[in-house]
Symmetry: C2
Subunit: 308 residues, 2 copies
């Protein structure tokens, strides 16, 4: 493995400088480049052999003739593969147990925030008003997790440990689900799953099938007054359908962490809707050290002949 890697930290959505210390420590002899929202080192494209990225600009990676690894900084790769001119270079994701725990915490907070009227209490506090809402115990509230990958299964386990009635839906049948989690799958199981979701948590990967899946037709299959948590991808949500479902009362509230356009534009209706909670795509994140370490592992494996 050459010691003098040219590694580019690439994103058209976020500043990537948070990765610099970890990559400097892990790759002391590498040249580090940035092509992000703050720095545009485009003169180095010909040298770059490794891209570490979140949502790289369309067409950019095709302009890197020496590229041999595309490293996502997250569990998903859809933010990379949507580029139609993507070169034929191995793409790797980050697998990090800390990511699942971070998502557990976010999902637990978001589910309780809606189910237990916490947004209302925060609003009451501004008026110094002691206003109780009904306290419905978790055992009488059904939380449905759409998507039972590593993150979905982990969130299901955490919600069941709190005491929620948990159900899960996945495209294909899953084994090894946490005890007490009711499983549904496929198109055939979809309606029965949705009909029993007092809160629906979306943790689906973004694919052609899940693009726009959170739409009016799906909302109509939930119990009236259901709550939505989207910790999946922004493109899974049809934004106008959400606003209409909130206005009609079909949905009671939504907690959203991912958006079609990030940062969410200042004039977007979601910011000011009284029953939408917006968080800036922070549900979970992999630590810089884990990203640098796993990037190194992936580079080592690429340079080692395998006997597959």
């Amino acid at each position: 493995m050459p010691l003098n890697h040219h590694i580019a930290l690439v994103s058209d959505q976020i500043a990537m400088d948070y990765l610099l210390p970890a990559f400097r420590a892990r790759f002391p002899q590498a040249r580090l480049h940035r092509i992000d929202t703050q720095v545009q080192e485009l003169d180095a494209l010909a040298d770059i052999d490794t891209v570490v990225c979140w949502s790289p600009p369309t067409g950019l990676l095709a302009r890197m003739p020496r590229l041999r690894l595309i490293q996502s900084v997250g569990a998903g790769t859809d933010h990379i593969t949507r580029d139609p001119s993507l070169p034929d270079v191995p793409i790797r994701r980050i697998v990090d147990p800390e990511m699942a725990a971070g998502m557990n915490a976010y999902v637990a907070w978001a589910v309780v925030h809606g189910q237990r009227h916490m947004a209302g209490y925060i609003e009451s506090q501004r008026r110094a008003a002691w206003e109780e809402s009904p306290v419905v115990p978790p055992g009488r509230h059904r939380v449905g997790i759409a998507g039972l990958g590593v993150l979905g299964q982990s969130a299901a386990r955490a919600l069941a440990a709190i005491g929620y009635q948990v159900r899960g839906w996945s495209r294909s049948p899953k084994s090894g689900l946490p005890e007490g989690v009711e499983a549904f799958h496929g198109e055939a199981g979809r309606a029965a799953f949705l009909a029993g979701c007092d809160t629906l948590v979306c943790l689906l990967p973004l694919t052609e099938d899940t693009h726009g899946i959170l739409n009016a037709e799906l909302f109509a299959q939930l119990p009236r007054g259901a709550r939505l948590v989207n910790a999946g991808r922004g493109a899974q949500l049809v934004q106008d359908d959400l606003l209409a479902a909130l206005d009609s009362g079909q949905l009671a509230s939504a907690v959203l962490d991912a958006f079609i356009e990030e940062p969410l534009p200042r004039d977007h209706a979601f910011w000011h809707h009284p029953r939408i909670t917006v968080t800036p795509h922070i549900a979970t994140r992999t630590g810089p050290e884990a990203i640098a370490r796993q990037t190194e592992d992936h580079l080592k494996r690429l340079s080692t002949p395998t006997h597959a």
Copy 2:
């Protein structure tokens, strides 16, 4: 057991009408009375044999000559026993698995709310501002539960399932703690416990020993910038010490559900402090049906001779 009980629903803090349907269903031949914040049926005092209460007015129960059961609507009885003129009548508490689950949900929300900067995101949303805070994974955050009764042990289990590093403190050693929870006990274990609490959750019962336990001396033993969740009792917190610890930076934030005076007075400093979250004593509650059912059980046992 006489069928024509006179049951009084008593509180000087909350309206007790939420219990009426469950008690009418469970005791169809009983006379139900209310002495609460809305209705004052004081003419019936001589007839009342059963009091179902939250914080009964001092001296009131001594004026009920036929009283034979004092039923708390919660897990605690300190809101009853603080009355110096309390008659010598059996006091019973409610034990309800739904209570533990309700507390789990509250504690999970409150811990994540502080640790993951959720209060800040809610504030940012008002300004339509996309402002990320550092995402520290739960595995690098130590949550300490003070009080390892039914509620404390259950909350410890739920927080560990999310992925937090959980430790617990109790007055005397406890067995059967959830796996992975580090246990401390007694005065000897107190300093070591507190030194490792990035968030401290108080679920202690209110006793002479725990009155005012959340004070400047205790806050000083926590790591600088620690967070506090008080889901115990208001009288455990020294209010001015909390404000001083927040102002000095010794504490970063507090989520409070219980107060010395409830409802919290409109002019109280807690309402408007930017780093205090106030909820109106809703962390958990027992369902009206469970309260009515357990009241009936307790009355039956009182009228059955025992061989103790």
